[in-house]
């Protein structure tokens, strides 16, 4: 009993130490910290969208059609970023849109991580024909440009945000499978894996408890970078009319529905795009910082 408690405390200490070491390297990069803070801000904005947004995203102010942003001529302080053709407040739509974009990106990453890890570990552990088959399927997915692949999949599944997320997940899957497989194979010949096999650990235990934690660093970096591209691709599909459907205020869909107004009311196109750019930029800054902090090769130099 007390022995266990000591062991637990030991584990916690190791965990804390690892995190402290990680944070030491991560916080060295100011831009990465800025990215992290901005991203946390966006996430909070998405969670509390109902409180933060001045209006309901679908509320139509019939007397205020295509009002420019507050600081420009003819603008009104009522609508900070102006209104669209139906008199809907752009700021409120963008704030609510962050929910859709972040959730879409998050779900894509979760799907990729979970399926990618399981498939990758399976390939690495069983080798032989299973591995060949899995890797050839992944090669095939990679042979078609991601957006085209996603488009074809959405054509099969039907347009919509959820189907777009599934389609995008499938196109990103190969990167996760390859990464998991490669690092699992290089880990599986290490002494600690042999030791746990000798100690009588089962297949699943070796795969998920012994090997997997040691493959996580590159996967975390890949997950962060995929999070940002997933937001971009969701928006691209939304823009093409194959992702989220109007009146959902997903950022890409917002640009598509206001595209006809882009010359008369440019703010309806500019701000949703700026939101995408800033969110993606913040995540990429974070991803760069994570890679530098988690890559042991760079640490030593």
């Amino acid at each position: 009993m007390s022995n266990n408690a000591i062991q637990d405390a030991g584990h916690k200490d190791v965990g804390r130490q690892q995190f402290a070491e990680f944070w030491f390297y991560f916080s060295e990069s100011k831009t990465a910290v800025v990215g992290l803070i901005f991203l946390i801000g966006v996430i909070l904005m998405a969670i509390f969208a109902d409180v933060v947004a001045p209006y309901d995203p679908s509320e139509q102010f019939r007397d205020f059609l295509e009002v420019p942003p507050a600081w420009s001529e003819g603008g009104s302080s009522q609508f900070l970023l102006g209104t669209d053709y139906a008199g809907r407040d752009m700021l409120s739509r963008i704030i609510h849109g962050s929910q859709l974009s972040l959730v879409a990106g998050g779900i894509v990453v979760l799907l990729c991580l979970s399926f990618g890890i399981v498939i990758g570990l399976t390939a690495a552990y069983f080798r032989g024909i299973t591995e060949t088959l899995i890797m050839r399927v992944m090669d095939t997915i990679l042979a078609v440009p991601g957006l085209l692949m996603a488009l074809v999949l959405v054509a099969i599944l039907g347009p919509g945000l959820i189907n777009a997320m599934i389609a995008i997940s499938i196109t990103y899957m190969p990167y996760f499978v390859r990464l998991t497989r490669a690092s699992a194979i290089s880990e599986s010949s290490r002494d600690y894996v042999v030791a746990s096999r000798v100690a009588g650990a089962g297949r699943l235990r070796i795969m998920f408890i012994t090997i997997l934690p040691n493959c996580m660093a590159p996967l975390i970096v890949q997950a962060t970078l995929s999070f940002s591209t997933a937001i971009l691709d969701t928006a691209a599909l939304g823009f093409l009319g194959m992702g989220a459907q109007p009146p959902q205020p997903e950022w890409g869909t917002l640009i598509a529905e206001n595209r006809d107004l882009m010359l008369s009311a440019p703010w309806t196109v500019t701000f949703p795009g700026l939101a995408i750019l800033l969110a993606v930029l913040a995540i990429n800054l974070l991803g760069d910082g994570l890679r530098d902090a988690l890559d042991p090769r760079l640490k030593r130099s």
């Binding site: 050839r136 074809v152 930029l281």
Partner: protein, 336 residues
């Protein structure tokens, strides 16, 4: 060299069959009755339905359908568009030059700016320039290019009136298509000013399509250069008292190019995916716009054929990149 080529082809063959299997499966797992979906008809008599089923070959067992499909593809038959009733290959080849022209210009734009920017950032490591260049390229890398395109149209076409909004050529000109590449065709024709017009139409789409490759090339060139600059032979070259331009240009850049060429080759997939968005925004009559149009008009045979053809293009370019890689770095040819 020959065994190297065979080796690469052996790797590509299963991928090619994977792609055919994928495109074959695509039409079969579409929801609803495939005959109705493929013919685009709303209602038909049972006899019409049966004859169409037979005509499309959907009444045979799946394995036979697949073998026929592979056989057709190997003979250069990529199906027939339901919409235009023309062979998909003909449509593809007709539009392909437009996309290649756009992608080439985008790539030239990306390389001409990205390569020197990356080298400069590496040489001036940890200075204001380095941080500036890397900051800008991260913004480029994070860019939603469909929005970027609209933004440039608003600024350059609408406000400044400098560039055309869409298309490949002004309506004033009627240039006979010889090669399909308008930059060449306009030079061959005797219409004055048509070349300038074609070039003029290329500017914005090339910038939009080239932005992400530009950012990637700049970043990768910088890191490849940094890696090479820390090598012993570069230190030796410096110690010998060679001029910096010789050290960077001759000793470092040549070795860094191995990575850079691979990176540039990998951009082909990015370019083709980007072409879908760029061509849609600028009404550029190329493959990207065509495939989107085919998806929307449910011309599934066109989508199916286009999928295989695009994958074939990407696979050929990857093969070319591998061969170039082998030429720049002969060690690779012999180790395998």
């Amino acid at each position: 060299m020959f065994s190297f080529l065979l080796n690469r082809l052996a790797v590509l063959a299963p991928v090619f069959f994977g792609v055919t299997l994928l495109s074959f499966g695509f039409i079969r797992i579409l929801p609803g009755d495939p005959v109705l979906a493929l013919s685009g008809e709303r209602s038909m008599t049972p006899e019409q339905h049966a004859s169409l089923l037979a005509k499309l070959g959907l009444d045979k067992p799946l394995w036979e359908q697949y073998l026929n499909y592979i056989g057709d593809i190997l003979q250069g038959d990529f199906g027939t568009s339901v919409l235009t009733n023309r062979p998909v290959l003909d449509e593809f080849l007709e539009l392909f030059p437009a996309t290649v022209e756009l992608a080439t210009c985008a790539m030239i734009f990306a390389i001409v700016i990205g390569l020197p920017a990356g080298i400069f950032a590496a040489v001036k490591r940890r200075t204001f320039f380095d941080q500036g260049i890397m900051g800008i390229s991260l913004v480029g890398y994070s860019m939603p290019i469909f929005w970027w395109g609209l933004l440039l149209i608003i600024l350059f076409s609408s406000i400044l009136g400098l560039t055309p909004v869409s298309g490949r050529l002004s309506f004033m000109f009627d240039v006979e298509p010889v090669t399909g590449f308008l930059l060449i065709d306009t030079l061959l024709s005797d219409e004055k000013g048509s070349f300038a017009s074609a070039l003029h139409h290329l500017v914005l789409p090339s910038i939009v399509l080239g932005t992400i490759p530009l950012a990637i090339i700049a970043r990768q060139t910088r890191s490849a250069m940094l890696e090479v600059l820390s090598e012993d032979y570069v230190r030796t070259a410096r110690a010998k008292g060679l001029a910096p331009i010789r050290v960077y240009g001759l000793h470092a850049l040549r070795n860094a190019m191995i990575t850079v060429v691979t990176v540039i080759g990998l951009q082909v997939g990015v370019l083709l995916a980007g072409a879908i968005l760029t061509e849609t925004i600028f009404s550029w009559p190329g493959i990207g716009k065509w495939i989107i149009f085919s998806v929307f008009s449910r011309d599934y045979f066109a989508v199916q054929g286009g999928l295989v053809l695009i994958a074939l293009c990407i696979m050929s370019v990857n093969l070319l990149v591998d061969l170039t890689y082998g030429l720049i770095n002969p060690r690779i040819l012999h180790t395998r």
